[in-house]
């Protein structure tokens, strides 16, 4: 009996605790603007908000004949565009051995122009051409998984205007709103790393021609690409017409719960096989990823025939929850079994062990956007040889059509260290340098529809 009485008391208490239930109507009356914990918002905010409810427009029925068209480009549109950058800059600093300062003036001009023609929702033609001074030196070996900053400065050994460079020239076609094709010269980035990106199997696409197909099958995003780039793949002149000179790559991506995952593969007769897999997720406001890559060169008698692993993991986080991200940070760790064969245009035959590890850090900030100023910082460090590269840059765009930059580059480590050998200053190989740069820009476009 006592227990029953106790139970009744507990029941009453429980009911009372839920007394202010969802269904209850008695006024428990908290004033508008009072927080659940009792704090209050500013009086001006409350009054301005409440004013909206004094005489609001009545609810209405939306017109039934209006809708947006998911095919943005559903008629004949032709856009012509051009962009001119004229830069003058001066690099000063100390040479490789810190024996004497070296100053070098540079100037460069880049004129790009093109057209974007969309005839109907299914088809589009796009072309972008470029004329550069100084003429760029085509060096496919400069595409390295270790260093995204190899082409920081223009090569000054070729002081002439380039011929017209075809940056992009492709035709898009969408078949029955299901399969998307892009045919021609195009840009594409695979791989998850923003600093170290060994999974970018298609990095040679930018100076080749390619056929890309993308579709969505049963929740899987599927992309297949065929790339023709004989220079990059070292295709013999006698083989250029053969189908086997073409590289084939495919990628499948999807989501599983909070995880995004993807696998990709690549084959080219002279480069061999490459395969990649990654998982990526977002946790505590950060992007996190882990990616593994294996490669195997074509079999060559008398040489090792190893599968070569690489892996990269990274974190990207934006600090600041407001309209301004005061710090955007990318941190990555990279392991490579490739030894010194760093170029994507060569697949080594031998696995060089597990000690080649690198770390990288890149940061930018929006905190000074109100001054038209954006600082950036990057640090790359090879753990195996102690070499590294530190870049600090500040760019100001306050003056219309003008970008002013100051960049400091510091290279450290032994003479045979990775980042010393890969000094982005390919003319003077300065270990410590300061660059002052002014770029004048004009961009315009004209659309006819």
């Amino acid at each position: 009996m006592t227990r029953l009485f106790l139970a009744f008391l507990i029941f009453l208490t429980a009911v009372a605790s839920f007394g202010q239930s969802a269904a209850s109507t008695p006024g428990a009356g908290s004033a508008s603007g009072t927080s659940p914990s009792g704090g209050s918002s500013s009086a001006s905010t409350s009054s301005s908000i409440e004013g909206l409810f004094q005489d609001p427009a009545p609810d209405k029925t939306a017109p039934s004949n209006q809708r947006i068209n998911p095919n943005l480009y559903n008629g004949n549109t032709m856009t012509f565009f051009e962009n001119v950058n004229a830069s003058g800059y001066y690099v000063t600093g100390w040479d490789k051995y810190y024996q004497y300062p070296v100053g070098t003036p540079y100037n460069a001009i880049d004129f790009s122009f093109g057209s974007d023609v969309r005839v109907d929702p299914t088809i589009r033609a796009y072309a972008q051409f470029d004329i550069q001074y100084p003429s760029p030196i085509v060096n496919p070996n400069a595409t390295s998984a270790y260093n995204p900053y190899l082409n920081l400065l223009p090569a000054q050994g070729n002081l002439s205007f380039s011929n017209v460079i075809i940056q992009q020239m492709f035709l898009d076609y969408t078949l029955y709103n299901q399969v998307f094709f892009r045919l021609g010269r195009q840009t594409e980035v695979w791989g998850q790393g923003r600093i170290f990106n060994p999974g970018n199997f298609v990095n040679d696409i930018a100076d080749g021609v390619a056929v890309k197909m993308t579709t969505n099958l049963w929740g899987l995003n599927v992309t297949a690409i065929g790339i023709k780039n004989d220079g990059f793949y070292n295709v013999a002149s006698s083989d250029t017409a053969s189908a086997s000179s073409v590289a084939a790559a495919a990628k499948v991506e999807s989501s599983l719960g909070p995880l995004n995952w993807g696998v990709s593969g690549f084959y080219q007769r002279n480069l061999g096989y490459k395969a990649e897999g990654y998982v990526k997720t977002s946790a505590i406001g950060s992007d996190l990823f882990l990616e593994g890559v294996v490669e195997q060169a074509p079999f060559q008698a008398g040489l090792p025939d190893d599968w070569i692993p690489s892996a990269v993991s990274g974190l990207y986080h934006e600090f600041g929850d407001g309209t301004t991200k005061w710090l955007k940070l990318e941190a990555e760790y990279f392991f490579s079994g490739r030894g010194t064969s760093e170029s994507f245009s060569v697949t080594p035959t031998q696995f060089y062990g597990w000690n080649d590890q690198s770390v990288g850090l890149a940061m930018t900030s929006d905190a000074f956007n109100f001054m038209g100023t954006s600082p950036s910082f990057s640090w790359l460090h090879a753990l195996k040889d102690g070499s590294g590269q530190v870049i600090l840059g500040i760019t100001n765009t306050t003056i219309p059509h003008v970008a002013l930059s100051v960049v400091s580059v510091y290279i450290y480590g032994p003479d045979n260290g990775r980042y010393v050998l890969e000094n982005p200053d390919t003319t003077e190989y300065r270990r410590l340098s300061f660059t002052f740069k002014a770029t004048f820009n004009l961009s315009s476009q004209f659309t006819h529809s």
């Binding site: 507990i10 202010q20 009792g38 301005s48 409810f53 427009a57 609810d59 943005l72 999807s254 909070p258």
Partner: protein, 252 residues
């Protein structure tokens, strides 16, 4: 037997209340959710920062609520044209047309640096994310409303505590979002709705950021965002819209 009866007596009110709470929130969700059709609209966002002026963003919004998918394609300003947000499964992807890259982002994040959150444009999921801890009637201008104080039941919601002013037609007219400690973070006002089919869409939303602003002439002016929704439609959308392929195709 007695123990079981005791447990029942103790737990029953809680269970009943939880169920009631869920039902109320589900009714509120249902008014602005499109489970039987696709939904598309044009969304104009005017961000007003004290002393810095206004900025304008226009996006096309496509939703397929039954699959919890949505896509937002930025049309203006020109500098952001072609950027897109695509929700597939539990993940929200942000496409950068310049870098040709997709990155994972969070629905909690601010949309295009405005005071709106990505979650403001998606399917309402109050019943899945919150429970009611308190309710009472209150007059809001000309509206008779019931105020519901909500507490998050999941860790991944945008705001851990929130308060809704709901009219008898189950439409939310005002929300106040709070941090876990009870700090008011922002206020959203939706004075007028437009009916689309048998569901509702706001005509305008005004969001006032309680944390951000500046002193202007000796008074603290808050950052404000006004969202205008036009051309709402329930017409079916092609499947390709909810794919990464679509964003690549639409990129300038």
């Amino acid at each position: 037997m007695k123990t079981a009866f005791l447990i029942f007596l103790v737990l029953a009110p809680g269970v009943l209340f939880a169920q009631n709470s869920k039902n109320i929130l589900a009714k509120i969700d249902a008014q602005v959710t499109f489970m039987n059709s696709d939904y598309s609209a044009q969304v104009d966002i005017v961000q007003d920062k004290p002393d810095e002026g206004q900025s304008f963003t226009r996006v096309d919004l496509f939703r397929r609520d039954k699959d919890s998918e949505y896509l937002m394609l930025v049309l203006k300003p020109d500098s952001d044209k072609g950027k897109g947000y695509l929700k597939i499964g539990n993940n929200l992807w942000l496409y950068d047309p310049v870098a040709h890259r997709f990155t994972v982002t969070s629905a909690k994040d601010r949309f295009q640096n405005s005071n709106a959150r990505n979650s403001d444009f998606t399917r309402s999921s109050l019943a899945e994310d919150y429970r009611i801890v308190r309710s009472y009637p209150e007059k809001l201008g000309v509206f008779d409303t019931t105020v519901y104080e909500l507490e998050a039941i999941r860790d991944d919601v945008t705001f851990p505590r929130t308060k809704l002013w709901v009219t008898p037609d189950n439409l939310v007219r005002m929300t106040k979002d709070y941090s876990l400690s009870g700090q008011l973070l922002r206020i959203t006002a939706i004075p007028t709705y437009q009916r689309v089919g048998n569901r509702y869409v706001p005509v305008k939303m005004l969001i006032i950021d309680e944390l951000r602003g500046k002193m202007v002439d000796g008074r603290f002016e808050h950052e404000k965002t006004q969202i205008t929704i036009s051309k709402p439609s329930l017409a079916p959308l092609p499947d390709i819209v909810f794919t990464r392929t679509y964003l690549e195709k639409m990129a300038p």
